[in-house]
């Protein structure tokens, strides 16, 4: 006897992600899932973004880490409303975790919501959280080959932020060839060359966020 099933193995997560997307839409929040390696500067980028966008947008951040609430404290000090999720060792956020965390942030009515995923370039790319777009982050200290080694996330991302460019003179990072490889992988993707420390490139990033938020509503 042959029985057809045809059901997605991640359907529990996919169903919850669809519910999240609908909830975000009803609450008028444009949602970005930020994915990168550990230490590439996700929190620093979001601190600066919250400060720069402060008078235009109410910025919320759901931030995932294996342990500690240090990132949420930094983000709250920068003017964002941040909720920490501790995954207790799990290497990615799931749609159910994001749903629970959003309940805490919902009363603040954020119109721009970032989901700062656990630092990891592989697993988070496979788990839909109900976001409107994924953004990948890549610091120059990580090396030029990152997009070639982890093409999955750079292929899925609506934008890539190259961070810590103030460190370029001290590294062998080849910005031109990295930009070329990113374009080979995904010609639809926006790329921002930034430094959260010096502020370089952040105005352009914030303009893109404004357009993204307007187009999402």
């Amino acid at each position: 006897m042959k029985v057809e099933i045809g059901k997605n193995l991640l359907c529990a997560n996919a169903d919850q992600a669809d519910k999240n997307r609908e909830l975000f839409r009803r609450r008028g929040a444009a949602v970005i899932n930020i994915i990168s390696s550990p230490g590439s500067g996700k929190t620093a980028l979001l601190e600066k973004t919250a400060q720069l966008m402060g008078d235009k947008f109410k910025t919320g951040v759901i931030v995932g880490d294996l342990y500690t609430d240090r990132d949420a404290r930094r983000l709250n000090s920068a003017g964002a409303t941040a909720v920490q999720i501790n995954t207790d060792g799990l290497c990615h956020l799931t749609a159910a975790m994001v749903f629970q965390a959003f309940k805490e942030i919902e009363p603040e009515n954020p119109d721009l919501l970032f989901i700062e995923n656990v630092g990891n370039l592989v697993c988070p790319a496979a788990f839909d959280l109900g976001e409107n777009a994924k953004v990948a982050l890549l610091s120059v200290a990580e090396g030029t080959d990152k997009p070639a080694k982890y093409p999955g996330i750079f292929r899925e991302a609506a934008a890539t932020v190259i961070s810590k460019v103030d460190l370029l003179p001290y590294t062998d990072f080849d910005l031109t060839s990295c930009l070329t490889e990113l374009k080979e992988l995904n010609g639809k993707m926006e790329v921002f060359v930034t430094s959260a420390r010096t502020g370089e490139g952040l105005a352009k990033w914030c303009r893109w966020l404004e357009e993204f938020a307007a187009a999402t509503k």
Binding site: C123, A126, E184, L185
Partner: protein, 113 residues
């Protein structure tokens, strides 16, 4: 990636369906995995062997079909399997392309008595 939890999800589905259909012994389970998921066949088979113990799937064969990446060119409509890093259209050379296959991750069917 998460081979053990994927196989657990697969078994939850197959065991439930087998109970509903009066199947007491499953002989074959067919799984379709897109290239994007990078799931390792050996690890899937190992997880399957361990987790099926004591279930109706014990001793069944796991058949894994890999689906390669397939892209469609937004400009000329050509469909192609990319080679190497580039996702450029081999026809018109534009880099504006859309993924149409390679994202699959589902139980296709199972066979049993």
């Amino acid at each position: 990636m998460h081979e053990v939890s994927l196989i657990q999800a697969l078994l939850d589905m197959v065991n439930k369906s087998a109970a509903e259909n009066g199947v007491t012994k499953v002989n074959l389970v067919k799984l379709v995995v897109g290239e994007m998921h990078g799931a390792v066949p050996d690890a899937l088979e190992f997880a399957f062997e361990v987790l099926t113990e004591g279930t109706v799937c014990a001793g069944a064969k796991l058949e894994v079909e890999k689906k390669l990446f397939l892209f469609r060119c937004d400009e000329c409509g050509r469909e192609f399997n990319p080679t190497g890093l580039s996702r450029r259209c081999p026809g018109c050379r534009t880099n504006v392309t859309t993924l149409v296959a390679g994202r699959e991750l589902y139980v296709d069917y199972y066979e049993g008595d």
